[in-house]
């Protein structure tokens, strides 16, 4: 198994490229908003969720992938069977 340093070295360029993709996409959105119309309510909510997701990546502690997944998920209601009458 590789050490933490080896993993980071191996993945660094890949992570860098993925971050650049995110940065360029956000730039594209801003550029278009400046040239045409600002984001509508639905799109703004998606934009806000991206910011919140980036914040999760900056948090200390592991389980970031799982926390991101939960963040992008609809809530589970324990008594769904009673509510759906099933």
């Amino acid at each position: 198994m590789h050490t933490a340093s080896q993993i980071l070295e191996n993945e660094f360029l890949e992570v860098r490229a993925k971050l650049l993709e995110v940065a360029a996409t956000l730039d594209r959105v801003d550029r278009s908003a400046a040239e045409s119309a600002p984001l509508d309510a639905g799109a703004q909510s998606s934009r806000d969720r991206i910011d919140a997701a980036i914040q999760i990546l900056l948090d200390e502690g592991s389980g970031r992938a799982e926390r991101l997944q939960r963040f992008f998920s609809r809530e589970y209601e324990k008594d769904w069977r009673r509510e759906m009458e099933i």
Binding site: A65, E66, I86
Partner: protein
């Protein structure tokens, strides 16, 4: 390395794909019944589909030395139509004893609706009645967490269900723990865009140790990669995992899970299995 793809939709793939999979080491596959990309108009549409799954695909696969197994159901998307679903469920017993049928699947939820849940429960009754194994589809994206929890509730509330004979597919970081923790088998689907990459799947193997975990390509008519399992094998090797662990996930685990079905008559390649025999 010989491997088994436990979830792949070959009706929507070309013969060239069979050839490529064989060259990559695929020796067996299981094909759950699923959505065809359009809603079928009648139960007869499903009857023809089940003939394709039980008669046509095993022959196509055998030409390349691949053993083909299958699962029958009406998928979660078309399950929104409850009366059609009941017609299909009533017809499944005609095919359930075909020699490549491993069980009922892929049943599950899509948008987590009442109709989908109703049809899911009726499939469970069918599986119990015929003592069949079950293969489960969990929803994608924002519906996955809620839908997986709902499915686990329905399975765990039914004392007739033997959890070791149920495979819950398309698990990701936020659902795998719960599925394995409650005693089910879990399948990771390697799929571009909406599901899981080989790297993230290997992360889950590292976290959970490969016990009761399977990996599949779910190759179908949409954007998907039928050779995704070899990608996972390569990623595990790249990270320095032992061959024994790789073999467990991509070969021994599928055999252990499928062997609980009386129709899983798998012949390993080194026991003299010949293409097209």
């Amino acid at each position: 390395m010989d491997y088994i793809d436990p979830h792949i939709h070959m009706v929507s793939r070309t013969t060239d794909d069979y050839a490529t999979l064989a060259r990559m080491g695929c020796v067996a596959m299981s094909e759950p019944a699923f959505w065809a990309g359009f809603d079928r108009g009648s139960a007869d549409g499903f009857r023809d589909y089940f003939r394709q799954l039980t008669e046509v695909e095993p022959k196509r696969a055998a030409q390349f030395g691949i053993q083909h197994f299958t699962w029958l159901c009406i998928n979660a998307k078309e399950a929104e139509n409850v009366s059609l679903s009941r017609d299909v469920i009533a017809m499944i017993p005609e095919f359930i004893h075909c020699k490549n049928v491993l069980g009922i699947g892929e049943i599950g939820l899509n948008k987590n609706t009442k109709n989908e849940a109703t049809v899911f429960l009726e499939h469970l009754d069918l599986a119990v009645k015929f003592e069949q194994q079950i293969l489960i589809h969990t929803p994608h994206l924002e519906d996955k967490y809620q839908g997986t929890r709902m499915i686990l509730d329905m399975l765990c509330d039914d004392s007739r269900i033997d959890r070791t004979r149920v495979l819950v597919d398309h698990v990701e970081e936020h659902t795998v723990d719960e599925v394995l923790g409650r005693g089910f088998w879990a399948g990771m689907t390697l799929y571009p865009v909406t599901k899981c990459t080989p790297a993230r799947a290997v992360d889950m193997i590292e976290r959970f140790g490969g016990e009761k975990l399977l990996a599949n390509s779910a190759g179908d008519w949409g954007p998907s990669k039928p050779t995704a399992v070899p990608d996972l094998i390569f990623e595990m090797r790249r990270r320095g995992h032992p061959e024994s662990l790789i073999r467990k996930v991509v070969y021994e685990n599928p055999i252990e899970f499928f062997s609980q079905s009386p129709n899983f008559s798998f012949t390993p390649r080194d026991n003299g299995f010949n293409p097209a025999s």
